[in-house]
Symmetry: C2
DNA sequence: CTCCATGCAAAATATTTGCAATTCA
DNA sequence: TGAATTGCAAATATTTTGCATGGAG
């Protein structure tokens, strides 16, 4: 239940970025903020539509775009597809995802900064971004 | 020019996995083995078709699928899309990719195994896969 | 009241599948 | 020869765009 977070800061953030607060945006924000699994646009749509009748899938796509742009959510890259999203309210974090049930947890990777700088030097690259994700089986799914 | 590798081992590998050696497969293998940028199915198709007339995009998809399955190539996950492939003939490697020119280089991450195990313990996960990629600007592009 | 945002339909992409013809082993 | 492979066409799936209407600020 680590992802159940207050949605007010999200809405404030959207406003501060010049976006209007609408019923549909609130619905999408709530869905993503309150799940512990990465959701793709269609899944968000199906869940959000229960709360907000007449919601369109297109709007979900556009809302996700803005949420990602403002850094509130992050795209999750999995072996099976790369169109799912998770909250990223605490800044950039690294993910560990269960391949069976989709449950995701965050982990710190402080040690990594040193590695990145070392690689940057060795290859003459200037590094702007990094992605690190682990995939496996969570505690619960190991029992089954 | 680090990626220009002999394609014979690739073909042998395919055979050993029970796949037949065909002209189209050779073409696809050569294209990917000889590029230093990640290529998506369409790009592979366009280049391979120059060598093998009548090649179909569908076959490229199916060949890429088999090459990934046998571990000869790996999917590259970039901010702009996740359908490009690079050789992975030396087993799983980590990537550093230039966001300007697409040039990719591999780097070792031996230090990371320890981190992964630590995270696995803390979260009770059994880790099966991981991917780590760095994005930035390569030496040449920094000059421009 | 003025734009931004929405939903619909349709377009544009991307990927997969059915199937007859072909090719490798 | 027999089974795997291919290319085509068509089916799906996914994402984007144009545009008239509606709603936030």
């Amino acid at each position: 239940m680590i992802f159940i977070m207050d949605t007010k800061p999200w809405l404030t953030c959207l406003q501060q970025n010049g976006y209007r607060l609408t019923a549909t945006r609130k619905a999408v924000v709530e869905i993503i903020a309150q799940t512990e699994n990465a959701l793709n646009p269609l899944e968000v749509y199906e869940q959000a539509r229960r709360r907000t009748r007449g919601l369109g899938l297109v709007t979900v796509y556009r809302t996700l775009e803005k949420l990602e742009e403002t850094g509130l959510i992050q795209r999750v890259h999995q072996p099976g597809g790369c169109n799912a999203y998770l909250p990223s309210a605490h800044g950039h974090q690294h993910l560990i995802i269960c391949q069976q049930c989709g449950h995701a947890e965050y982990f710190e990777g402080d040690d990594m900064q040193g590695l990145f700088e070392q690689v940057a030097n060795q290859h003459g690259f200037h590094i702007r971004e990094h992605w690190l994700q682990l995939f496996g089986t969570c505690r619960d799914c190991q029992k089954n």
